[in-house]
Subunit: 697 residues, 2 copies
Amino acid sequence: MARQSKDLKQRAPSHDRTKADQPPGGGGETRASRPDQDGRQRVVIEGVKPEIDGGRFPIKRVVGETVVVEADLFADGHDALSGVLLYRHDSSREWQETRFQFVTNDRWRASFPLNRIGVYHYAIRAWIDRFGSWQRDMKKRVAADQVSSIDLLVGARLLDESASRAQGTDADRLRRVAEQLRKEPRPSAEQLAAALGEEIGRLMAIYADRRFATTYGKELSVTVDRERARFSAWYELFPRSCAPEPGRHGTFTDCESRLPYIADMGFDVLYLPPIHPIGRTFRKGKNNDPNGGPDSVGSPWAIGSHEGGHKAIHPELGTIEDFRRLIRKAGDYGLEVALDLAFQCSPDHPYVKDHPEWFKKRPDGTIQYAENPPKKYQDIYPIDFETEQWETLWAELKRVVVYWVEQGVRIFRVDNPHTKAFCFWEWLIGEVKRDHPDVLFLSEAFTRPKVMYRLAKLGFTQSYTYFAWRTSKAELTEYLTELTRTEVREYFRPNFWPNTPDILTEQLQHGGRATFMSRLVLAATLGASYGIYGPAYELCEHRAIRPGSEEYLDSEKYEIRHWPIDRPDSLREFIGLVNRARRGNPALQCDDSLHFHRVDNEYLIVYSKHTEDRSNVILVVVNLSPHHVHAGWIDLDLDVLGLKPDQPFQVHDLLTNAYYLWAGSRNYVVVDPQSAPAQVFAVRSRLRTEQDFDYYL
Amino acid sequence: MARQSKDLKQRAPSHDRTKADQPPGGGGETRASRPDQDGRQRVVIEGVKPEIDGGRFPIKRVVGETVVVEADLFADGHDALSGVLLYRHDSSREWQETRFQFVTNDRWRASFPLNRIGVYHYAIRAWIDRFGSWQRDMKKRVAADQVSSIDLLVGARLLDESASRAQGTDADRLRRVAEQLRKEPRPSAEQLAAALGEEIGRLMAIYADRRFATTYGKELSVTVDRERARFSAWYELFPRSCAPEPGRHGTFTDCESRLPYIADMGFDVLYLPPIHPIGRTFRKGKNNDPNGGPDSVGSPWAIGSHEGGHKAIHPELGTIEDFRRLIRKAGDYGLEVALDLAFQCSPDHPYVKDHPEWFKKRPDGTIQYAENPPKKYQDIYPIDFETEQWETLWAELKRVVVYWVEQGVRIFRVDNPHTKAFCFWEWLIGEVKRDHPDVLFLSEAFTRPKVMYRLAKLGFTQSYTYFAWRTSKAELTEYLTELTRTEVREYFRPNFWPNTPDILTEQLQHGGRATFMSRLVLAATLGASYGIYGPAYELCEHRAIRPGSEEYLDSEKYEIRHWPIDRPDSLREFIGLVNRARRGNPALQCDDSLHFHRVDNEYLIVYSKHTEDRSNVILVVVNLSPHHVHAGWIDLDLDVLGLKPDQPFQVHDLLTNAYYLWAGSRNYVVVDPQSAPAQVFAVRSRLRTEQDFDYYL
């Protein structure tokens, strides 16, 4: 029965990790009838949460948060029981412990704080609480006036046993209470009350008999990141388009001049597409022309030339010193530079000559280029993760990451991780974060949901999402509910991008400026982390290469663009307002509290976020229709907002600075996309002054 | 990160089984940077169902059923993949395999048949299907007229590789196709089509390169029982009340005479309360009188006297030969005898003298009797499962079960299993079923839900339920949905009892004969397994010992009763009708298909069960109000019943033999509790004859 399956489990101890050559164990062994555990371990531990895939993967948190753990703890019979949550930072050998508190229906809860980044481990242990059972039963006997001296002696025996495990004053105290219970003819009512009291209960818990405690069979872990893992505003920029004068190839120095502009908008991550030498063979021309020729600048993702590979810098951008200076200067503006990890090679990459064994060879001896039949991408050689030399390959790719970490990079955006072996990512991220736990990885996997979730479980800090294509109220509500209300939230941190250099959605192509505004507000307030590809975004660039395509016309992926960033219709001011609202309101810095409120208009979407103590509550109303004014009655869930039914409260639109006085759950809103397609309200249940109240009544 | 948690998992391989003295592993080990698996294992296997608590427990099935297994199988990139479900009976070393079929969204499905009782194991393996990928891509190239000779050579190479793993004609066939692909200047269109065809695909699948296959890290198992585990009708009877004349202590021989009566009602399990010698010390008198005295017959659950213990027979019932004859005779009537396993002792039990170490001693040296303060049960000594001699205790209790198995008993009803150590039950049931896989155990644990479910996971074949106290439509619907629509159904087989010697519900006390009828129909049609305690049930015994109590007045637990089983108002005929409906309709022999249909009257409950092919469909309508006629419009889910919206169909009440012609989802019913509080319709979508149709139109 189960015992047999357990034996087999031991043969194959972890998920999908069994050696390929080893068949599942054969049957027919002689089975011993000896029990395989101590029969006195009576407590069961099950239903542990959070626990991802049976403990195969860690959950994710950021420093300063707590981990709340729940478990079913129960035993046969009617004995009381005790449980502790054990936890330790990976760097410590010492377990700390905190007691589980009973919730209801055999459910218990405990929590522990995360004071450092890195990895924490947690485990659960529970045992029969003999003294707790004795206290409980004795209280019933006292109430029924049925206390016998034998019952008292039972308690005294337990006290003595614990005393023998205790020392000093604790031991003395326990022995004294035991003596009192043995007093002839009877202990006094006060002495009995003391033996049945909480103080002795707590003391006895410390020195409980844990010989037959059950330890949960799995140790679980938490990856603890710095706060930016949870709360970040990304700005993607092509450095080569940063020259102030049209036509010139931009440099890192030009990027430096752009830093105040980006910082003013309130971003904190500056993400650069690959900065490495660009291959010349099959170099792409403007608008993805396969015959680009020598004059074209090529795609930054066609990495590697005789000038170097993944550890080199494209000479036209500058030098490694320039890059390091850019990182420093960005830091002065509160911006971190994120690099792109695109593990693929142009035919000119040094790896191709030095490590041909890392690429797949065709029968004619040539290297297999990227292909999605019938499409061919002859400027890209994918790396063959099935190479026999995979170990040297993995080691080299790790060296690439460590090299950039050593230059000061702490955030990586990983290009198409879903086309490289999953186990490689788990290993790589584990290796890098072991030595540099402050490094963050963003997964750019626009693929099937289970693959995206798997990558997050394997260790990616944040992940791109389907947000760009979730446009209706129903789509947004359903998707965000999946991300924030299911187990997914324990390991998958969404990062919402309304556009990327690869994604100019149909909605942005046709929705006009109001859509650029509303999509920005949605991304920035639904997601604690979001990003835009600029200056295309703030300049409302909406021209696609052709109808039905999501590719930009004259895409920066294949040419240098000169962006008129000072154009008066730029959204830079608006974006700055939104990012300031994010920075000033902790409610917007976490996704867990997201809650959708009903509104009787399908073009309006209404949701709130709040801090745990509800000292900060944000309510967002977005008009999803770019061309029409929409109005509706909102039906607020007042409990969620921390409001009482009859309580007037102020809502303050952080984008327009307008104030309104509301009361109760039903409130009316009008949203005109031509002025502002969204309202981001701070909800204040305590009006600041009497005047506020009088004025808005 | 995850790698570290894996290391720890290996230290503590299974749930709640870690040695008590061994603290969770300490941290701070030197961590190798070498990958701990072959980097070429690219396929992920996750989301496997069914799988109970991460594979810790087996699922349950009966022989003849199939196990349908689903899993998420996916890899990085765009390669095709293949997976197999491996399975074997525990007695076989050879794994059989069947291919997974793609369902949708990375979900795959496969199934295997259960031809024997005992334990089956199943495992999953999946790998990149290079030839499948090649065929898929080649078809696209053919469509785009882009086939190059190099593409053909890639396929030829794969064919040759597989040929080297194959033998005989298969190897020849693969090599021949490879040669054709290498043909200059080109293979013919037919030859290419053959290489891209299904036949070669199937052949290549057999000889696929599985070197880098992923094997799911857990082997899962299935406990396969005989059919009675799923479908059974129990009748509980006190043998000592079976004498035909009042006042005499009944014997096994008297029980034999009662067999035709029980068999006529259609039961298949005859369950006897403990048949062992009854203790004399503190023997209970009538109506649980603590001062019963020597004349009282005592409670059969106060087991053990100088005449013997759990392996002996109460002399007044007869001899072991009489008991064996009863088992044989019962078999002749299609009845199996189920024994009660009540692991507790009277103070007179031989264990008390021979094995005082198996009991808890109080400080004064006396043995601790059962207690639930302030109540004392001095006639019962609980066994101390925390004894240091637990191993000898377990061995002896196993000998008790094996002894009765050797006498021919194959079903045990286990008294209060939740007050004995969980690990004991897992071990005991595993041990017994290893040698006697046809033995069934019914868990009598009326306790908290998680404890009841845990016992089922540990191996109990069937379980008592809360059915007796689920009386309203909402309660029944919610409870049955939990039992039949959640993971619970994989391991918890409910057995519904409207009464037991301990449970005379308030509803039965006051509801009259109609309630006895409706509760019987509910138990017998909601549950493929159910039981009654008779003749109290068929004689509608409803007198409680006092208001507010569920104890019978003059309970058979403490005295001999003489039951007038031939009383004309007995429900024996009605019960016979219901059991014949169960036997004649496979839909009622399984719980998985249970479906509730809407009806616009809260006193009516309507549900259906059907066989998988819908050749047998049963629709049940029960009036939950014993005193009033209720009528209502049913809104049938026709899809569930296998009916088309415009299709007339016949419903045939198996209890009254009435026929009705219905059509569509809306149908009207009237249920008069005074004639029959329930209708059990066979639903026939093909009317038997033209006459049927004409007559009922």
